[in-house]
Structure formats: C-alpha cells, structure tokens
Symmetry: C2
Subunit: 201 residues, 2 copies
Amino acid sequence: MDSSAALRIFREHLKRYVDFNEAEWILFSQHLNFAKLKKKHYFAESGKVCNKVGFIVKGSVRYFHIKDGEDITGYFSFENEFLSSYKSYLTGVPGHVYVQALEDSLLITFTRKDMDEMLNDPMLAYKMERFGRLIAEHYLICYEDRVTAFVTQTPEERYLELLNTGREILQRMPQHYIANYLGITPVSLSRIRKRILETVK
Amino acid sequence: MDSSAALRIFREHLKRYVDFNEAEWILFSQHLNFAKLKKKHYFAESGKVCNKVGFIVKGSVRYFHIKDGEDITGYFSFENEFLSSYKSYLTGVPGHVYVQALEDSLLITFTRKDMDEMLNDPMLAYKMERFGRLIAEHYLICYEDRVTAFVTQTPEERYLELLNTGREILQRMPQHYIANYLGITPVSLSRIRKRILETVK
DNA sequence: CTAAAACGTTAACAAAAGATAAGAATTTGG
DNA sequence: CCAAATTCTTATCTTTTGTTAACGTTTTAG
C-alpha cells in the first residue's frame, strides 16, 4: 500500500469525527508522517515519554505491562484504530506501558509537537480541538465499559461477552493475551473454556 | 452557599481546563443551572437517557449498577468533580448506571441541548470544544489507570494502593462500597484488611 | 529443514474469593 | 429517644483462581 492510499483510508475514517474541508485537510496532512512498524517493534515503551499518536492503517498492536518480570497484556488495537501511550502523550510524563506491533504494521502518525502547532494554528485550531474531543470521548466510553465489566462481572461472564462482541480479538489474538485482557491467568481461561464446553453439552 | 459563590468555585476550577474571557463567561454561564440534589436522590438512572452533566460544588455521589437485584458501586465523585452517565450523555442512548447523591449536594449543571447550542455558537464553539476535549482526556486517563489496576494488580494490591492515594474515598465511603469499587465483595475486603493488619504486626 | 520457542491443556495443590449466615456495633430516621 | 436499618466482622463451606510443572502441538526463526 502506498502513502496516498493510506491517507485516503485515514481521511475516510476521520469523517466519523471531523469533516475537514480541502484547505484544512492540506494543512492537517502536512503534519502527518507514515511509519512502518515491524513485528515485535515498539511504538511506545515503559519508562519513556511517548510523544506521538498513531493510526493503524494495516496491522495490529498489543499494550502490555511488565510486572514481576512477566508481561501482562492489557489492550489491543487493530486497523482503523488509534494507538498511543495516551497518558504519557497527554501529560508528557514517562509512561508505564509497552505498545508493540503484533505483525508488520503500517501507521500514520503525528507528534505532540505537531498537534500543538495545529492547536495553535488559527486555521486548524477549532477542528483539531473537536477532533481531540471526539477521539477522547470515544475511548473514554470504551474504558468506562471495561471498568464496568471488571466491577460487575465474573471472569467467565467477561469471556462470554467477548465471545459475543469481540470477534476480532478472539480471532487474531492468542489465548494467553486474551486471558490477561480479561484479568485472569491463561490457565484459568483454559479452565473456563472447558467449563463452558461441558455446560453446553 | 449562594449561586454566585458556587459560580466562582466552578469558574476557578475550570481554569485548569479553559480560560474564558469575560464575554465568553457571560455567554457560558447563561447556559448553566443550579440544582440541589438531596441525599439518595438520583442524578441519573439505569434505563433512562441522561441528558446533562453536573459539577459538584458541594457533596458527593456514587455510581452503581444493579445486577441480580444487588447494587454494585463502581465509582465516586466529590467536590470539584463532574458527574454524569457519560456514555448516555455522549451517545443519547439510555444508560445502565445509577448516579445517586450520598449527601445533600449542590450542583451546577448544563444539558446536552445547552452544550450543543454552545458548540454551535461561533462565540463559544472553540472554547467549548477545548473544554470538552480536556475534560474527556482527564477522565480518559482516570479510567485507563483503573483498567490497568484491574489487569495488573490483585485485589489486595489495589486496596494497598488506595490506602496511599485514595484518602477521600477511604474517609468518606463505607467499606462495602469501596469493596465493590475494587472489584470484590465486602466480606473479601474485610479479610484483606485483616491479612494486612496481621502482616504489619 | 530443524531446533527452539511459543501455545494450549491438564493435573495437583495452595491461596484467595464468593455465598451465606450470625452477631455486635453504629447510624439513621422518624 | 428508640426501633430499624446499616455496617463491619467473623465463621463455615464451596467455588474459583493462582502456581507450578508436565506434555503434546504448533509456530517461528535462522
């Protein structure tokens, strides 16, 4: 895929959030970069400031933390989703999360510096504030739902819900990552799956 | 407390996010309402669309879900924080959460309709987009941290962290609400507390 | 192609959490 | 002021999860 095809995909996706006119789009796209992220390479690392946001044109990433020497997967992103170590990007403080490509991926990125320039450019400021608001609101809802699931559901219920709504995760992610994502160990998820199979029988 | 004192507090708090000039502030404040919410009364209810956001000048609220006839507390808000059934407010769809005053509370509120008017008013649009963006980013970070805690920490670790960072919750909320907030039962939290006390000895 | 790594299941045991109930202490709401 | 409700702890029992290790299968990387 070439850059212009990637740009088209990105622009199409952004229509959900903001409608840039031609002049605005030209200004905006001047601040965009294209990046290939090879499998297992990092978009963000714990202990480092993440100064950019990416949009996944092709590929996928996982977010993970390292605790007691073990890595624990907390989230995934796929095509047409954004990725960043958001807290670090937003606050400028080093993050605690690793964001790693799960396959060779194609990204469109912009830096915090570019975003600040756009937020300060009278030609773009309004649209960029709006863009930022709608993206943040979108992910706020995602995280709110996830917290609710942890508070109100058992691991088994969370897995059953994933069976209904998380096709992409189920199809594309190994089971031990999914277990972490659900807040349990891989062994425990294996048992839950067995339990469900026996109940269905 | 009278309305103008409440307004001053609100304006002071908003400076963290947006700096309104006098003309903007006059326009903005025309869209604000003052509301007293008596203890145990609801700001939002499951099954209903929540069409407003509030700012707590005085008081506190808890968010809870009802599952199998039991209520499960998921979150709290105190003075100088916003409250809403955000997903419902943002999407216009009925929410699944109850937001209830824990004490007689004083709120400043605005409706979704008012916010939309402001977002469409050329005099205010830019500042309101910015306001919305920064608020959403703030709560996005809160929820991201919370999800990370559920994925990477045990209930005991989450409680120990609350001991370090959650003074307000610990001091103002009964223990069984805190247990729910941590994703466990009240009985389990009581045991964790006992375990910690015995370890310290 | 092949050795190494990664993945998923299962087993056995320990640790933790859920469910239920009882009882004491505290708070509450007329 | 007082009865009722709430809150917290504790005990008992059951269920679930964590931990560790083993094993076969699949995937990966050189």
